[in-house]
């Protein structure tokens, strides 16, 4: 019997145990839930009253205290919040977090001197305790006193004699307050202590280095830090900053140093050269490649680097701002220094000599061919280069076909239609040719037919091409086919074709003579305007700008049958004034005339933009 009673008592005690472990009775729990419900509903007065009761009944219960404090603060009853917090503090004087939060309550109550006294007092009691600085700074940051929080961190660092203390906290805090110099300084300190954390630091700094001022500030600090102590990781960070800001020259200086410091043997320079080249910074890319080659690079990368260097020189020699140049007038492009082209060619020849059986050699031959043809119109030299490239590329169909296509264009420029046609036919029939190559070959064959007077044959080839509107040559094919279809009955079209062929061979004076004949005979025909346009193109190519202007004027004045090309003539006149004769006022007048006489012209918006640019208006 006694044994059973004991068991029952023990069982009852066991059931009641969870309630006493939580320190709440059932009544308290219900009251607490009520208080929470009042608080959630915004009835802060009743919520506070309930919390006050609960806490009064069990002042050791931190949950009750925090709920009461929170509710009083929500209700902006700062005096009440101060009172309860002071009482709690008196119970637990060693609780630093509580003291710091008391300071926060005073601050919210606009009693800043008391708040400051509490926070300063916490520090003064144990000036060498990092924890106190952390807690106080946290309270300050919570109350948006960010600058003071940063000061506390700095004071803590100084007081403890630990220069590495609070680095990350300061870095983040200063970034938020836009003290980018300060933030960069801290991140650098961190990085110096943890060199493997470069990616982490870059990720953090990414939050603000999109801002040019922030980036410049960070770079300035980094540079001064590098002056004090070198370190590869600092250079990597600086190089990254420059690249983010697209300051390639600055980045190159850094990469140069990094390459040396890390004994990369030029590979860092080469990698950087690729980035710069792809970004269009050809001059910087060329320098980087040159230095990589001189390092010297290892054999695995050297061929690529030499070829890349030659490519950079090519881009420099051919570069001109196509956006600011003529779009229609055939004014010769303003190339770079011809000696740069010669340099490029020499480098391609070195690549060929050093790596004769490689793909780089083939591509070098092709580049030489391109430069000789387009830059110097040295067709013989171009042909030799392409031919050697083709020879070397046997077994690489894609490369070979590319070379054959270019050989065809050279033959055409030389006036040898038979050889050109044979080469283009091989490309058009090649199974390995890509669609663009086949389309171009077919177009060139159509041109040859047109040049030779076989207009029907030309049209037959062009019709197919015109259906593929996404082809690169589609526009040219459409233009030629329109010319032929509109003038199918005219015997003069063949003459125009002859003129075009001469112009293709850059025999502009002979071409002009042929076209002049056509113009004299074609008055009143649709061909008249086309012939005049082509004549003007020849005159522009020969630098006879005033004669070209006269030709365009004839288009406007003498054309009675059609004004289809009149606005184009006016636009090209304006371009001749602007880019040929470099007469800004006359160019503006011509563009304005276009707008006035042909308000619906497709050249209207181009003309407007040119006028604004010539007037110096930045839009």
């Amino acid at each position: 019997m006694m044994h059973r009673l004991t068991l029952v008592a023990l069982g009852a005690l066991f059931c009641l145990l969870p309630l006493s472990v939580h320190g709440q009775t059932l009544g308290e729990e219900a009251k607490f839930r009520h208080a929470q419900a009042f608080e959630a509903a915004g009835d802060l007065t009743r919520a506070a009253a309930l919390y006050q009761e609960l806490w009064g009944g069990d002042s050791s219960n931190v949950v009750y205290f925090l709920a009461l404090q929170r509710t009083l603060l929500q209700a902006k009853d700062y005096d009440g919040a101060i009172e309860v917090t002071e009482r709690q503090r008196a119970r637990t004087p060693a609780d630093l977090n509580l003291r710091a939060s008391l300071g926060g309550v005073y601050y919210k109550a606009a009693r800043e001197p008391e708040a400051t006294a509490i926070w300063d007092g916490m520090i003064a009691e144990a000036p060498a305790d990092p924890m106190r600085y952390r807690i106080v700074a946290g309270a300050l940051a919570e109350n948006r006193l960010l600058d003071r929080a940063a000061d506390i961190y700095r004071d803590g660092r100084e007081a403890t004699g630990d220069p590495a203390l609070f680095t990350m906290e300061l870095a983040q805090l200063l970034a938020v307050t836009m003290d980018y110099r300060g933030s960069a300084r801290e991140y650098i300190r961190w990085l110096t202590m943890n060199p493997s954390q470069l990616a982490f630091v870059q990720g953090r700094m990414s939050a603000y280095i999109g801002n040019p001022d922030a980036r410049a500030a960070a770079a300035e600090i980094l540079r001064s830090e590098i002056e004090r102590r070198e370190g590869p990781v600092l250079y990597e960070l600086l190089g990254w900053l420059y690249l983010e800001g697209k300051e390639y020259d600055g980045a190159l200086r850094v990469v140069r140093t990094l390459d040396r410091m890390t004994a990369a043997g030029g590979s860092a320079l080469y990698s950087f050269g690729l980035k710069a080249f792809n970004a269009g910074a050809f001059s910087t890319a060329a320098t980087a490649y040159r230095e990589a080659i001189a390092a010297p690079l290892g054999p695995a990368l050297m061929p690529a680097a030499k070829y890349a260097y030659a490519r950079a020189l090519t881009e420099l020699s051919l570069a001109h701002d196509s956006l600011a140049g003529p779009l229609e007038a055939q004014i010769p492009a303003r190339f770079g220094d011809p000696s740069q082209t010669e340099d490029a060619i020499r480098w391609y020849q070195r690549v060929i000599a050093d790596y004769p059986a490689s793909e780089y050699a083939v591509r070098s031959y092709y580049q030489i061919g391109l430069l000789r043809r387009d830059r110097f119109f040295d067709l013989h030299g171009a042909e030799n280069a392409y031919a050697r490239g083709v020879e070397l590329s046997k077994g690489e169909p894609a490369l070979e076909i590319e070379g054959r296509l270019q050989l065809g264009t050279v033959a055409l420029a030389q006036g040898d239609t038979a050889r050109a046609a044979e080469r283009f036919r091989r490309v058009a029939a090649a199974r390995e040719a890509v669609p663009d190559q086949q389309d171009e070959a077919v177009f060139r064959l159509a041109e040859i037919a047109y040049f030779s007077g076989d207009l029907g044959g030309a049209l037959g080839l062009l019709r197919e091409l015109s259906l593929t509107l996404t082809a690169d040559v589609a526009n040219d094919a459409l233009a030629l086919s329109t010319l032929l279809e509109m003038n199918l009955d005219s015997v003069l079209v063949a003459e125009v074709g002859r003129g075009d062929f001469l112009a293709r061979q850059r025999r502009f004076s002979e071409a002009a003579a042929v076209l002049e004949q056509v113009v004299r005979k074609a008055a009143g025909q649709p061909l008249f305007d086309d012939a005049l346009l082509k004549l003007a193109s020849c005159q522009e190519a020969m630098g006879q700008y005033r004669e070209a202007l006269g030709t365009y004027a004839r288009m406007r004045d003498d054309s009675t049958e059609t004004v289809a090309l009149a606005d184009r003539a006016l636009f090209r006149s304006a371009e001749v004034q602007e880019f040929g004769l470099e007469d800004t006022a006359a160019a503006i007048t011509a563009y304005e005339r276009l707008l006035e006489e042909y308000p619906g012209s497709v050249y209207g918006s181009l003309a407007r933009g040119r006028i604004r640019r010539l007037r110096g208006e930045v839009l």
Binding site: L73, Q74, V176, Y208, P599, R608, I611
Partner: protein, 429 residues
């Protein structure tokens, strides 16, 4: 034309010939139509501004062919129209006289407003502002109308007195940082913006950003009272009025100003201090992307809006008796595609009855565009963020106005810019 009309026309021409206007009438004129024939309505406003800047008087022909402009052909107006791609017609003195006669007929709801000066335009924008963030500056940039930027220090120093027209960028005058906290509290731009504003507030002597913004709102109100014109869009509309009404209370939650809001904030609002709205209820949830019940539909229900059915209608006013609302509603269409914003439209029941409603969504109580007077000045509120971007989000690319040259929504913005250039005229009695 009847005999009587011919006689009236002749008398009008004779009268005009002996007055100053006659001098200009005798010259060729450039008419910039603003109806559907116009190729670039937005740049047309820029041409009007350009002409005014060169001392050419411009007549705004209210309700004539969509609110056209008529100016002397001297000074290269025609050439400039061509260069900017604005279509125009060159008309002689007789043609101009005919137009004036038509516009000033009693039975036509039309009138002539002479524009005689270029308004000095200021835009209230924070540092680091990019013009493509804001529809008004986009319009100003596209129309090539110059403007200057002002911010809190300039406003508090009284610099607004130098300007005729003030635009409020999509600023949150309640000091709640656009209520982006819920979505962007962790974003670097949000944190930096908050830190920058807090620093600014302290520098200017305010403990909180909300207090600073209230002071700025009051300064702007004084500027209006002294005769200024204020134009606000999107959240700058309702937050401005809320800030004025909340002068004596704290409506900001802890994450915005470091302390909780006043529990009695709603009861302490003083609607008499607001310009356009009254009786509104604050949105107390700090995590909700909404300020009050002025805005509708609520910002968290915008996904339910269908752009295919979202349009609003411009109201028609008497050009002769209500020239100001007429100027503000000039357009080539009167039903305009709607567009969303943090403040998409105003609840009609909360609009003060002293305010003129200029446009509303038919069949609803959604007011899109309103105008009112305060003191010697006026204010206009235009709801929505970007008339040609139905739902613009943070980080979205800017609108390219060259693709929206005839935007009726943007025309309403530009009407407001030219309106201060109008010569004040005697009201007809």
């Amino acid at each position: 034309m009847s005999g009587g009309a011919r006689l009236r026309l002749g008398v009008l021409v004779a009268l005009l010939m002996v007055t100053g206007a006659g001098r200009s009438l005798a010259q060729a004129k450039v008419l910039i139509p603003m109806d559907l024939t116009q190729t670039d309505h937005l740049k047309a406003y820029g041409i009007a501004y350009w002409a005014l800047a060169r001392g050419v008087e411009v007549d705004w022909l209210l309700n004539y062919r969509g609110g056209s402009f008529l100016m002397d052909a001297r000074g290269g107006s025609a050439a400039e129209c061509r260069i900017r791609g604005v279509s125009f017609e060159e008309i002689g003195a007789g043609g101009a006289a005919g137009i004036y006669s038509e516009v000033q007929r009693e039975d036509n709801n039309m009138d002539v407003v002479r524009l005689d000066k270029t308004p000095r335009v200021a835009v209230y924008v924070p540092p680091g502002f990019q013009p493509w963030d804001d529809a008004v500056t986009l319009a100003l940039e596209y129309a090539e109308i110059p403007y200057e930027k002002v911010w809190d220090p300039e406003v508090l120093e009284g610099a607004l007195a130098r300007y005729d027209w003030l635009h409020l960028h999509h600023e949150d005058f309640t000091g709640q940082y656009g209520k982006f906290y819920a979505s962007f509290a962790g974003a670097a731009w949000y944190q930096q913006q908050q830190a920058m504003l807090e620093q600014q507030a302290r520098t200017l002597g305010y403990r909180k950003v909300s207090e600073l913004k209230k002071a700025v709102a009051r300064s702007i109100k004084e500027y209006i009272a002294a005769g200024g014109f204020m134009f606000a869009m999107c959240s700058a509309t309702d937050t401005y009025d809320i800030a004025l009404a909340a002068e004596g209370t704290d409506i900001c939650a802890q994450m915005y100003d470091g302390d909780p809001p006043d529990p009695d904030a709603q009861a302490r609002l003083d609607y008499s201090k607001a310009l356009a709205f009254t009786g509104f209820t604050l949105e107390k949830n700090p995590l909700r992307y909404e300020y009050s019940d002025i805005d509708q539909p609520p910002s968290d229900l915008l996904a339910l809006q269908d752009p295919r059915t979202d349009y609003f209608t411009l109201f028609e006013f008497s050009a002769q008796f209500d020239p100001v609302p007429t100027m503000l509603t000039q357009n080539h269409v009167n039903v305009i595609q709607g567009f969303l914003g943090q403040t998409t439209s105003f609840r009609r029941s909360l609009v003060k009855n002293t305010v003129v409603i200029l446009a509303q969504r038919d069949g609803t109580d959604h007011v899109r565009y309103l105008h009112g007077n305060y003191g010697r000045g006026t204010f206009t509120f235009y709801a929505g963020h970007d008339p040609e971007d139905y739902q613009h989000a943070v980080g979205d690319p800017p609108t390219d106005l060259s693709l929206h040259k005839t935007s009726p929504g943007y025309r309403l913005i530009l009407n407001n810019i030219l309106f201060p250039a109008a010569k004040k005229k005697q009201q007809k009695t």
